[in-house]
């Protein structure tokens, strides 16, 4: 329990550092951090499925896309969501994504393992196809432009103000997800992850648990999408395409599945390498690839597994030195 408190303190400290440092950097770094936070919400939502329920989904971009496209369509076609009604759009985005997840979940939750991966992939690509082909609504390949960020007394056109808003959403999402995975419901999800058969024999409705987790993850994905749309000012099929889902998956694996924070860390690292390092050196892709390979090889539990490994290492060497000492005395 103590270590849990320390972990929370560390997260709070990291967020405090963000709050203190980011506003004093350039607008590029502010925008980059905003993107990392918005994508971090998506990665964390995926972690509910991967890390806590044991469902590796390759379709998380679908809910992200629904949130983003809903925001863009409302803003571009109906001029809705550019004032205080932004908050309504947030609600709509979350609800729409949850509804889509509820629909897709009916098909996806039947399967498990690789089959679940493939079904979510296919369903995700359906949404992409819709975004790509439904020209009259989505603008097709050209995408949809959001002319300006909302202004409700608080003008979000300012990058730093918007950063704080996204940070706020990020913190609230993280707390909600944290509460969720620590709740009895979250614990039964972990039980399903560990041994599905035993859970169903204990009388748990495994299907319903998975389904609810799937819908909740979709809802948070929708929220991330709404924020993402306003971060960039444009929504294109590129945001819904398979690689976006793969990115989210890799971020979770990189940061450490089943830790929530890991997804956010993964998001920060991937975006930092991809967007920041690429402004400095042309060989940034090798660094990104190297990070992935090394993580998979040496840190199967992700970057969040590092402290544990260090502790284990220390313990082992402690034991060894005690043994050495003992043998020396003798």
């Amino acid at each position: 329990m103590v270590s849990q408190q320390i972990k929370i303190l560390m997260v709070v400290a990291a967020l405090a550092v963000l709050v203190l440092v980011i506003p004093h950097t350039s607008s590029f770094v502010v925008l980059l951090a905003t993107r990392a936070l918005a994508f971090g919400i998506l990665a964390m939502s995926l972690d509910i499925l991967i890390g806590f329920t044991g469902l590796a989904s390759l379709g998380q971009a679908a809910y992200f896309g629904v949130g983003a496209y809903l925001t863009a369509v409302l803003a571009a076609k109906f001029h809705f969501g550019v004032g205080w009604d932004f908050w309504l759009v947030v609600v709509f985005g979350v609800v729409a994504a949850a509804l889509l997840a509820a629909f897709f979940g009916l098909f996806a939750i039947r399967a498990s393992g690789v089959y679940f991966l493939m079904i979510t992939l296919a369903l995700g690509q359906c949404v992409w196809g819709l975004a790509y082909r439904w020209n009259s609504v989505t603008g097709g390949d050209n995408g949809l432009i959001i002319k300006a960020r909302p202004d409700f007394g608080l003008n979000l056109a300012d990058d730093v103000t918007f950063f704080f808003l996204v940070l706020g959403f990020f913190i609230v999402s993280m707390i909600l997800m944290y509460v969720l995975v620590r709740s009895p419901f979250g614990r039964s999800l972990k039980g399903i992850r560990e041994r599905e058969l035993r859970m169903s024999m204990l009388g748990y409705n495994v299907w319903l648990h998975k389904y609810i987790a799937f819908v909740i993850a979709g809802a948070f994905g929708g929220l991330a999408g709404v924020l993402w749309a306003h971060t960039n000012g444009i929504v294109t099929p590129e945001d819904v395409v398979l690689t976006t889902s793969v990115d989210a998956l890799l971020m979770v694996v990189l940061g450490g599945a089943g830790t929530l924070v890991g997804g956010a860390i993964g998001s920060a690292i991937v975006l930092l390498l991809r967007e920041y390092l690429s402004t400095l050196v042309p060989w940034w892709q090798y660094v990104l690839g190297g990070v992935y390979v090394l993580t998979i090889l040496y840190l199967p539990t992700g970057l969040m597994g590092i402290p544990k490994r260090i502790r284990q290492g220390l313990k082992r060497s402690d034991n060894k030195s005690i043994a050495d000492l003992a043998s020396a005395r003798r």
Partner: protein, 420 residues
């Protein structure tokens, strides 16, 4: 670590740059012109991105790094073929590098992403490649800092429709990549061809990236006189091969990039005799173009396509505008005015601009031929120009007002009256 130190250094660097800018503007010495160039350096479009950079760089080297006397700082950023990344990189170029203008972008969607960014940042954005029609048509008023040196998607296909009609083709089938660029290209062709009396009897839309055209080829109606295609990337290589392989000998009239020099060296002899239309052909036998092709080929080992030419010409235009401005950056608004008034002789021919900041240039009807050209000793595929439509504007012959009253060309506009 480096990231952290950089972050710490950022305010210092920015302050330094700002102070430097102040001191420079107060003194009357050579100014620095900072140009942010956004292209895909990685990903599936990396090769096109390289051609774009090479085209610009070639001109920059020819004028020894100076535009109108100002030292050019040419900063290339990787937009990875993603619109959202382009926006982010643009904010980096504007915020950190303090560029005076953004140039480039590849995809139409990137153009659509960067145009509002230019409005937000009040910074000039020159689209050298993105060809989405509406950027310089119905939506231009939203983008006061947007300028185009490339083309609109329908600009070359409209004259091509006229030409096809004059060849006596009565019925044509269109086969085009299923996305906005394809819709706009087909729309322009269909509108002009049908206004001239022709009939589009079938429209087929294979998805972008289609490799096997068998299912589409088998549905082609037999009574067509010709086939209009708009193929992008590897599709351009596959379609003619598979069509001829299926024994269909109908003439192909290709939209814009279908036979661009970017893809031409990888095509086989089956494309000899195919037609296409664009504002540039590497086989243009003008002294200006011959010099450009030879210099480009000597330096980069390949024949330049329109991606390279368009950016070469963009560099040329910026240079000319800077000369007119006396070597000093006059501010975005003034610079756009100067650009709009320019008339230059580019490799593609004479280029001027309409009042909607889009080029007016020649459109060439080209025919693929295998021949020796410019003293190269091997017979290669070249886009021989067989007809020139001089000074074509994006509105063709319709006139601006009448043209802008119709909606933007789309999958279903103009409607296919003669399809069944």
């Amino acid at each position: 670590m480096t990231e952290k130190t950089l972050r710490k250094l950022n305010p210092l660097l920015m302050g330094g740059a700002f102070a430097l800018g102040l001191s420079l503007s107060s003194q009357a010495q050579a100014e620095e012109l900072r140009i942010g160039f956004l292209v895909p350096v990685t990903g599936i479009y990396a090769q096109i991105g390289k051609d774009m950079v090479d085209g610009f760089q070639l001109y920059l080297d020819q004028v020894e790094g100076k535009f109108g006397g100002a030292d050019v700082k040419f900063i290339v950023e990787d937009e990875q073929g993603k619109p959202a990344t382009a926006v982010l990189k643009a904010s980096k170029l504007v915020g950190q590098d303090k560029v005076q203008m953004l140039v480039g972008g590849l995809l139409a969607s990137t153009g659509y992403a960067l145009a509002p960014e230019s409005t937000r940042e009040k910074i000039l954005y020159i689209a050298s490649i993105p060809s989405a029609d509406d950027l310089t048509q119905r939506k231009l008023s939203e983008f006061p800092y947007f300028f185009r040196t490339g083309w609109t998607s329908s600009q070359p296909t409209q004259p091509l429709g006229q030409w096809a009609c004059e060849q006596g083709y009565k019925k044509i089938i269109t086969v085009a990549a299923d996305y906005a660029f394809g819709y706009e290209s087909v729309g322009g062709f269909q509108k002009v061809f049908e206004d001239c009396g022709g009939k589009i009897i079938q429209k087929i839309w294979p998805p972008l990236g289609t490799k096997d055209f068998g299912p589409y080829i088998s549905t082609l109606k037999g009574d067509a006189d010709a086939i209009f295609t708009l193929m992008v990337g590897p599709m351009a290589l596959q379609f003619p091969k598979q069509l001829r392989g299926a024994g269909i000998k109908k003439p192909i009239v290709g939209g814009s990039v279908s036979y661009d020099e970017f893809a031409l060296p990888f095509m086989g002899d089956e494309v000899v005799g195919d037609f296409s239309a664009l504002q540039y052909s590497a086989a243009l036998e003008t002294p200006k173009n011959e010099a450009f092709v030879k210099a480009y080929r000597a330096k980069y080992g390949k024949v330049p396509g329109y991606y390279a030419e368009s950016n070469y010409t963009t560099a040329l235009l910026i240079d000319e505008a800077m000369k007119k401005a006396g070597g000093k950056w006059p501010g975005s608004e003034q610079f756009i005015k100067i650009l709009s008034s320019l008339k230059v002789e580019a490799p593609r021919g004479p280029v001027s601009f309409d009042d909607m900041r889009n080029p007016v240039h020649n459109i060439y009807i080209k025919k693929v031929e295998k021949k020796k050209l410019f003293g190269y000793d091997k017979a290669e595929l070249w886009n021989t120009v067989i007809k020139t439509y001089p000074n074509v504007s994006q509105f063709w012959t319709y006139g601006k007002d009448k043209f802008l009253k119709q909606p933007v060309y789309d999958r279903d506009f103009p409607p296919c009256k003669y399809c069944e």
